[in-house]
């Protein structure tokens, strides 16, 4: 743990609230929250609790970021086609011809 990680950790401790939204509560709200954010209505009543949960739970934060990206692309009609998404990956090796 370096200095930056230490200060981040200490912040996690000091920003701990007496009552926090847990993962189940967060997951139940996630899709509605993402849609509100994309619609520019992110200041929902539970915004502070959502943000607090995201700061404390790396797994929920990772899933939120992924869902947000996908839902945003879909809302803009720009969810990439399969072949487009596969482009950054290396081409599959050509199959060796079968030798009889």
């Amino acid at each position: 743990m370096n200095y930056t990680e230490f200060t981040d950790w200490l912040e996690r401790i000091y920003t701990t609230a007496e009552v926090e939204m847990d993962c189940e509560q967060f997951q139940a709200l996630l899709s509605a929250y993402v849609d509100l954010e994309i619609a520019g209505q992110g200041a929902a009543p539970y915004l502070a609790q959502v943000k607090a949960h995201l700061a404390q739970c790396p797994d929920c934060a990772e899933e939120y970021a992924g869902l947000r990206k996908v839902a945003e692309l879909e809302a803009r009609g720009r969810l990439p086609k399969v072949e487009e998404s596969l482009k950054p990956f290396q081409e599959s090796p050509a199959l060796e011809p079968l030798r009889m």
């Binding site: 200490l10 996690r12 847990d22 993402v34 992924g66 990206k69």
Partner: protein, 216 residues
Amino acid sequence: MVNRSNEDWLRALSEKPGEAQAEALQDLRDFFVRAVLVYLSLHRTELAGWSREDVRGLAEDLAQEALLDIRASLDGFRGDSKFTTWAYRFVINRAASELRRRRYQNQSLDRLREQEPAFFQAVLSDQDKVEPEQLADRRYYLELLREIIETELSERQRTALIAVHWHGRSMDEVAEMMGLTRNALYKLLHDARKRIKASLQARHLSEGDILAPFQE
């Protein structure tokens, strides 16, 4: 892109097996593959060496699993979001879990605990230019934190804290190793954080007090 209202999706997916349901399932499967590929692209450094066919295969497998999840969970859709946003959550969660599983396989909790004494050492590195008094303050606070963690947390809280906060392991991975759900692990960690915070506040120590000697 197929345009269906939430009601259209629910109606088609809930129908008896037939053409309408098969078409909706196929559309949803296609969306899932495209959605999961976006997610995998965001994490492509973790898939170094994977061919396009490998990635496509993984995406199709995850989409299929998520489709089964959705069919078992349709009753849980409350209609407070777009149906597709709600549905994508299942496939994104599947993909995230799969990448975490690959990221951390073969890491035991015992192994993580072995590294525990070294935790705060790195914070104290590179102190050539630090005055002895400042260095003493740094050591004092780090020792205090270590002592609080050692003496005021339960064994399970300590294990969870070390694995998730110190070693950056995923919640799902640690939860599985500890025989917990992610939610139960979150609550365990929340209690641990509250305990540490209360202990520091009982000593009238603010975040700024502790960080002050670490400022250059």
